[in-house]
């Protein structure tokens, strides 16, 4: 009988190693996709009938630290039935994410003749670094004018990409007799940005118009940044009217650079700092002392502008998707001008919530470009927190018959801090969010209440780095609380 020889089969162990490795990596991926902790939300009715929750559909979304950049947890409460699921975070829209304004006091167009009497002096500027620095020589020009032009340049960005800018002439300001403006002109070859038209840097417009009764300037509205809208409050004598504007023509940096040099500095042409460029369309005029409370995007692309008049009444302007003014009306809501009001988070895309200083909570529903319904809950103690825009919310149900309020339920946690060298530091107390307290109101009476507990602190705290204020790091930072958002479908 031939002797059996043991055959080496390295295939087998190699394939086993490959299979095991792939299985582990697949398990990690599946674990990350499906292993998310359930039970992050607990909906517990504490009072009232289940029927009271009919007609309310509510979402609570949590950006837990472990879901950063990935899907988020969403709790859906419909007719009193709750369910947790995971959804992809909505992609950020291509809106105007950011806008900035630059206020300047410049030489008015009709005072350009002053350039002929400008006081000229030598100047120099050094730029560059690492042994490549270079000095440019040029001239500084100084004129004195008792009248300055208030100029506002607005910059709009889509995401982080600059979209364009617009310059407005907000009118002339009377200044002191010896208010100086300086302009610079450098030798050829110097960067263009070093040359500058006349600009007043000795005074700010706020100082100059401090004695005026109303505010002047431009107010950028952050409520709907999908359109470049702003409120302009010009000085008397400006070609603009006070009102809400939509920028219709924004110039890019290259287009601004290509504008004709309208100013003269030292007798030579120079791009003007006071000549307006771009174009803006007046959407609706506002009274000079009308304060803007908020601009809200509405379902269907419309917008609502809520303002307060000097007499204390609130006023509502409704715009269509193309910013066409559909209606404007003075609301039957008033409080003393200057009194505090808050805008609780609105729960529906067709509603606005407003809470007055006396605690009255108003919910306005808009349909078809008109105010369709309004509900008032008198004297509601809906707590407001200016550091936490999501602290309180309110909205009507589908039929508009019942009102739901939500506010954050919190408790304070105190913890010791100890520095790395074992020194005891003062204890820190932080507000820790437990979830939301929900209440349904009908006819001024609370008909149902519930607690929506959110158990994300453990995860979020685990996410924080803690080296210096170690124990502090276990407490949720204030911004974490803002991560919980409630909204209706």
């Amino acid at each position: 009988m031939p002797k059996q020889t043991k055959t080496r089969r390295p295939y087998r162990s190699a394939l086993a190693a490959l299979a095991a490795a792939l299985a582990v990596l697949l398990a990690l991926t599946l674990f990350r996709l499906f292993g998310w902790p359930r039970g992050q939300f607990t909906f517990t009715p504490t009072a009232g009938e289940a029927a009271a929750w009919q007609g309310f559909t509510l979402y609570a979304a949590v950006d837990a630290a472990w879901s950063a950049g990935g899907p988020q947890l969403v709790f859906r409460l419909q007719d009193g039935e709750g369910r947790t699921c995971r959804t992809q975070q909505p992609a950020e829209g291509a809106g105007y994410a950011y806008a900035g304004a630059n206020t300047a006091l410049t030489l008015p167009e009709d005072a350009r003749a002053l350039d002929a009497q400008a006081l000229e002096s030598e100047t120099s500027a050094t730029g560059g670094a690492l042994g490549l620095s270079r000095t440019w020589y040029g001239h500084a020009y100084r004129v004195e004018s008792d009248r300055l032009q208030l100029t506002e340049t607005l910059y709009f960005y889509r995401g982080t990409t600059p979209v364009g800018s617009l310059r407005l002439d907000l009118g002339d300001v009377e200044a002191g007799e010896h208010t100086a403006l300086y302009a610079y002109r450098y030798e050829p070859g110097a960067p263009e940005s070093m040359n500058r038209d006349y600009l007043c840097t000795d005074a700010t417009w706020a100082e100059l118009v401090a004695d005026e009764e109303a505010d002047f300037g431009v107010e950028l509205l952050s409520g709907t940044m999908d359109s470049p809208v702003f409120v302009a409050r010009p000085l008397p004598g400006s070609p603009l009217r006070c009102g809400l504007y939509l920028a219709t023509e924004l110039l890019s940096k290259a287009e601004v650079a290509a504008l004709p040099a309208e100013a003269t500095v030292g007798g030579a042409p120079m791009p003007s700092l006071s000549a307006p460029y771009g174009a803006a369309e007046l959407l609706c005029p506002l009274a000079a002392d009308e304060a803007v409370c908020g601009l809200f995007p509405l379902d269907g692309g419309g917008r609502a502008l809520l303002t307060q008049l000097a007499a204390g009444e609130f006023r509502l302007y409704l715009f269509g998707a193309d910013w066409q003014l559909q209606s404007e009306q003075t609301l039957d809501i008033r409080q003393q001008a200057g009194a505090d009001y808050a805008l609780p988070q609105r729960l529906r895309g067709d509603e606005i919530a407003l809470q007055l200083e006396n605690g009255d909570l108003w919910v306005l529903r808009i349909a078809g470009g008109r105010l369709a319904q309004s509900a008032c809950l008198p004297g509601t103690a809906l707590p407001q927190d200016e550091n936490d825009p999501w602290a309180a919310a309110a909205g009507l149900n589908e039929q508009g018959a019942a009102l739901l309020t939500a506010h954050t339920a919190t408790h304070n946690e105190t913890a010791l801090q100890r520095s790395p060298d074992a020194q005891d530091l003062p204890p820190v107390t932080a507000r820790v969010m437990d979830g939301y307290t929900l209440r349904v109101w009908q006819g001024g009476q609370c008909t149902a209440a519930a607690e929506l507990a959110v158990n994300v602190q453990a995860n979020r705290r685990g996410a924080l780095w803690g080296n210096v204020d170690q124990l502090h790091a276990w407490l949720p930072a204030p911004e974490e609380i803002a991560a919980l958002r409630l909204h209706f479908e």
Partner: protein, 275 residues
């Protein structure tokens, strides 16, 4: 294909022992450092995921991965390699099969080492978390709290609770796992591109000798750096919409380095001037 698999399997047989030793050393150092780190007072407040970074385990993993790629060629660089090389060159069949087999083995060991890290993390989670909690509990026990409360006449309890956490949260929070199991297609693409390029580069490395190996090693290091950059840039592009240019640059470098290394190695193999 079968011949490539056979060659890879024989080289696996030669690389198996050093690879297992590497895995054992890596597991031991990780356990020792994580447990020691968890017991240190200065690490109170860390979770398992942040402690992993604080104990230098991310560079340790990368170093271990690089070692695994080098260990894959154990059959070519251990004593007697010259004889092995000669035997390899006398085998029938095209010589690019040698490179392909070696690259496949590098890919296998890289995958296995990564999987080993995943297993280790899951295994170490419980003991490390327990030690972290115990350290926090002992360091924050009554004395400091009492003394401080007496001074400040604070009546409220100041004993903080150690926050609860889950393996899921700690796995999802670990940047290494975010990169190794990305939740977005771009991450998978960058990971696959980097992985293939590094595996092939590593497969080519030990066919060279003398100065050729130095040049090859330089290309290999360059590729490893570019692969890291590509994976990181894909993550940054997904999370913060930045590093798009870095991603394309890294992928271009990866492709160029791969082309140079492959062409050069295959040319020299054909001439028989290697090994």
């Amino acid at each position: 294909m079968k011949r490539i698999a056979k060659l890879a399997a024989w080289h696996w047989a030669m690389a198996r022992k050093p690879f297992l030793a590497l895995c054992a050393v890596f597991a031991a150092q990780q356990l020792a450092l994580l447990l020691a780190g968890a017991a240190l007072q200065q690490n109170i407040g860390h979770s398992c995921a942040t402690l992993y970074a604080a104990c230098w385990q991310t560079p340790a993993f990368l170093a271990g991965l690089a070692a695994a790629l080098l260990v894959a060629s154990a059959g070519l660089w251990r004593p007697g390699a010259a004889r092995t090389g000669t035997a390899l060159l006398t085998l029938p069949g095209p010589r690019w099969h040698l490179v392909a087999a070696q690259s496949a083995l590098c890919a296998l060991l890289a995958l296995a080492f990564t999987a080993w890290q995943v297993v280790l993390y899951a295994a170490y989670y419980a003991p490390v978390t327990a030690v972290l909690a115990a350290t926090a509990g002992s360091q924050l026990a009554a004395p400091a709290a009492t003394v401080y409360c007496a001074q400040m006449t604070v009546t409220a309890a100041v004993q903080p609770a150690v926050p609860a956490t889950t393996l899921y949260a700690q796995a999802a929070l670990l940047p290494l796992f975010q990169v190794l199991a990305p939740a977005f297609p771009l991450g998978w693409a960058a990971l696959a591109a980097g992985f293939v390029c590094v595996a092939v580069q590593s497969g080519c490395l030990f066919f060279h000798r003398g100065w050729g190996r130095a040049v090859s090693a330089a290309l290999w290091l360059f590729t490893c750096g570019a692969a890291l950059l590509a994976v990181y840039a894909a993550w940054g592009l997904h999370k913060y919409a930045i590093y798009a240019a870095a991603l394309f640059a890294a992928l271009a470098v990866l492709a160029a380095a791969l082309a140079v290394q492959l062409a050069w190695t295959l040319l020299r193999l054909r001439r028989g001037s290697l090994l």
